[in-house]
Subunit: 100 residues, 2 copies
């Protein structure tokens, strides 16, 4: 196969992967939007019933569970944990904004 | 409704939201695992064909598209952009590790 033909096949393969990545990113955005609908409702509920805004024991269980799920799915568990921490940080900021 | 009954209803509602959040988090982990399978293949393809590891024009289009999707889904577009940046940073670190 000539270098030009080979490179064009590689370009096509790249475009196929990118189309999948774009679909998966759209799915991620919609799942995150749905997740925030629930955490927003939790924030309102906690504020109305004077429950503590954060729950370290719950967060610890979430981290342990997501690390296990990540391992079984072939995803780096440290990355999964960092990502959850990133999302939870954003949620807590939203809760604090809801209270003030 | 007494304060105790009201609080127990609030606790039940909290548990329902948490069950949904746990399901959505499992979906997130699996979509991310699938996304990494594609970006890993892209990394291998780029390394084999000496294509540049990053593509700023592609990333710019991804950000613009995800911001629009976030807005239509009711998700903070700044959060969506920060999250994509976080995921792409991880992907680039993986690509660099694949090359070295």
């Amino acid at each position: 196969m000539s270098a030009v033909v080979e490179n064009s096949a590689a370009q096509e393969e790249l475009l196929r992967h990118r189309a999948s990545i774009d679909n998966l990113d759209a799915a991620l955005i919609h799942i995150l939007a749905e997740r925030f609908r629930h955490t927003k409702a939790v924030g309102a509920l906690k504020a109305a019933h004077e429950m503590p805004p954060s729950d370290p024991a719950r967060e610890e269980r979430q981290v342990a569970r997501l690390r296990e799920l990540a391992i079984s799915a072939g995803l780096d568990p440290d990355f999964a944990e960092k990502l959850l921490a990133f999302v939870i940080k954003e949620v807590i900021q939203h809760h604090e904004a809801q209270r003030s």
